[in-house]
């Protein structure tokens, strides 16, 4: 399965990655070579194989419904938001969200 320049461009938009015009061909060819390697998998028949998403053959252990909160919520917020690129009145600021 080879990948086209357009598919790379579409995928990049989905992933919010900007590729410059002068790098898109290079990126396309590198990714194409990765996908060629990956395509070795297609040689084997896996139709009867159940996909495995985790090696731990276990069920999830659930948490009981308990609130776990800091005593000083405003101080905790300050600590958590200390690295925010832009904030005001306890809110993260971003360029205007248009719905």
């Amino acid at each position: 399965m080879s990948i086209s320049r357009e598919e790379i461009a579409t995928t990049a938009r989905l992933a919010r990655i900007r590729l410059r015009d002068d790098e898109i061909d290079d990126v396309t060819s590198r990714i194409a070579s990765i996908l060629d390697m990956v395509d070795q998998m297609q040689a084997i028949d896996t139709s009867a194989v159940e996909p495995m998403s985790n090696s731990l053959d276990a069920a999830q252990v659930l948490r009981s419904d308990k609130v776990d909160e800091p005593g000083d919520k405003i101080a905790a917020r300050e600590a958590l938001m200390a690295g925010a690129p832009a904030q005001q009145d306890g809110l993260f600021l971003v360029p205007k969200v248009i719905e």
């Binding site: 995928t11 989905l14 992933a15 990714i31 998403s53 090696s55 252990v61 925010a84 993260f92």
Partner: protein, 494 residues
């Protein structure tokens, strides 16, 4: 400092194992503060050559050392108490920059400690700083770090391996007695092999992932990088255990990993997969590994041929699964709540796109694109689902092999350390660096690399793979091998 050096039984402090350091601390030959000052000064003097640290933290380290000295004085017994360590810069450390080797997190000061960090600090380990790594742990050569490449202490023209290359180089160059690493496809074992140290990737679920910045969540696992198997066991004792904040951490009690190390290996059957000795393996490398296997046989273990027929498919499956998970895991780096945000965004889309395009390096962007593509509509079945099916076949191979043997042994990587730039232009060549390690992550098994020879004065790694949650047996094999050989004591520095 000279005092400390003089008091160490004529051997330089930086050449001592964790056990020897423990003895020295307990018998008051030196204090944790003296040790800490000693290693900080080594980092200061020598790391310019290797670039193995991103951040060094002398003040908190000395404060921790003083606290450890008080605990030692009060009679507390703990294997790691007062011993200097380094953390891979993928583990969150409260108030100390945690960059993950990326410009994206160059300004990130976590408000919390990773579980592993907290556990080691509780045990009294002294963190000297944060080690360099491939950006977001994506790389096998440490050439993708935003903070520059790490150099292999055995030959600074060669790579230290990756992604835990900073930890491997720092331990090999004796800048720190031990360090943590993480391993998604070989990122502990391959740099350990290339730098001539001992590295252990525990069973998936053995060590908490909470606070360890995710690359591929179903594969990532933290582990020790040390100079010997015995040291690795000591460190694993502090790192392992169930964490209620990580629902993939196994709710199993941990044995004392030091127990049983001294037991011989005559009862063990060691599987040798023929697929690990294919034509991709450097011939000198093959010779060195076979010699190590012979040594194991001499120690009484029985070598058994085993087959892992689908192992050739592990790299293809991995390079779908890991990028797919990564593409999603790295979506949180969006410039909204922490980390890098581009200058003067024009609008929301511009903020997202420029933040991510400027904040991530090329290899990370490439993997995000591969992963997003593999998950996209129309390709999911052919790539992602297929890779998950192959993953099961690979695990089944191991399950079958482990019906016959207790441990599987082979090379850690196909060749010794390569030169900078050698594989950078060809991502696939770089990916094949991990052909012998990746399957272990896909199957979630414990694996380790131990020094097992030298080729042209560059280290060779022997890989030992265990059954699920049976780190103890591979540690025993490694320790018995290290009792019989001295490869692990070879040092690139005086």
């Amino acid at each position: 400092m000279n005092k400390a050096k003089a008091m160490s039984n004529n051997q330089a402090l930086h050449q001592l194992s964790l056990c020897a350091l423990r003895e020295g601390l307990d018998s008051k030959q030196f204090s944790s503060r003296e040790l800490t000052e000693y290693f900080l000064s080594r980092i200061d003097q020598h790391d310019g050559e290797y670039n193995s640290f991103i951040t060094v933290t002398p003040e908190p380290a000395l404060a921790a050392a003083d606290a450890a000295d008080r605990r030692i004085a009060s009679g507390e017994q703990n294997a790691l108490l007062g011993i200097p360590m380094a953390q891979k810069d993928i583990f969150c450390t409260q108030g100390v920059r945690t960059s993950c080797g990326s410009k994206m997190l160059d300004n990130f000061l976590p408000p919390y400690d990773a579980t592993v960090v907290a556990q080691m600090q509780q045990a009294g380990a002294v963190t000297l700083g944060k080690t360099n790594m491939d950006e977001f742990a994506m790389g096998s050569s440490n050439e993708t770090s935003f903070y520059g490449k790490v150099k292999n202490p055995w030959d600074t023209n060669t790579v230290p391996g990756g992604s835990s290359g900073g930890s491997a180089a720092a331990v090999a160059a004796r800048l720190v007695p031990a360090a943590t690493g993480t391993d998604t496809g070989g990122s502990i074992r391959q740099p350990a092999a290339l730098c001539g140290i001992t590295g252990l990737k525990p069973t998936y679920g053995r060590v908490s992932r909470y606070g360890m910045i995710a690359f591929a969540s179903s594969l990532d696992q933290g582990g020790p990088m040390t100079r010997s198997a015995e040291d690795a066991a000591l460190m694993l004792n502090a790192m392992a255990g169930h964490d209620p904040r990580d629902s993939t951490s196994a709710a199993l009690s941990c044995p004392d990993f030091c127990d049983g190390l001294e037991q011989d290996i005559r009862d063990l059957r060691i599987g040798v997969p023929k697929e690990y000795f294919d034509d991709r393996l450097d011939s000198e490398m093959a010779g060195a590994v076979r010699e190590a296997l012979t040594e194991l046989e001499k120690l009484g273990a029985t070598l058994v041929d085993v087959e892992l027929p689908n192992s050739a498919l592990s790299v293809p499956a991995y390079y779908v699964i890991a990028p797919a998970e990564a593409s999603s895991n790295l979506s949180r780096f969006d410039g909204v709540r922490y980390g890098y945000r581009c200058e003067d965004p024009q609008d929301l889309e511009d903020m997202y796109t420029r933040t991510r395009s400027e904040g991530f390096g090329d290899e990370v962007k490439r993997r995000i694109l591969v992963g997003a593509y593999a998950l996209s509509a129309g390709y999911y079945d052919a790539y992602y689902r297929k890779a998950q099916q192959v993953r099961r076949l690979i695990k089944d191979d191991f399950d079958r092999a482990f019906e016959k043997v207790d441990v599987i042994a082979g090379p850690t990587c196909p060749s010794p350390a390569f030169r900078f730039g050698e594989k950078q232009s060809d991502p696939v060549a770089m990916y094949l660096e991990d052909i012998y390690t990746i399957a272990v992550n896909l199957a979630g098994l414990p694996g380790m690399s131990v020094p097992a020879g030298m080729i042209n004065n560059m280290p060779v790694g022997l890989q030992l793979i265990g059954k699920h949650f049976d780190e103890a047996t591979i540690l025993r094999v490694a320790h018995q091998y290290q009792r019989a050989t001295d490869w692990h004591t070879r040092s690139p520095v005086e």
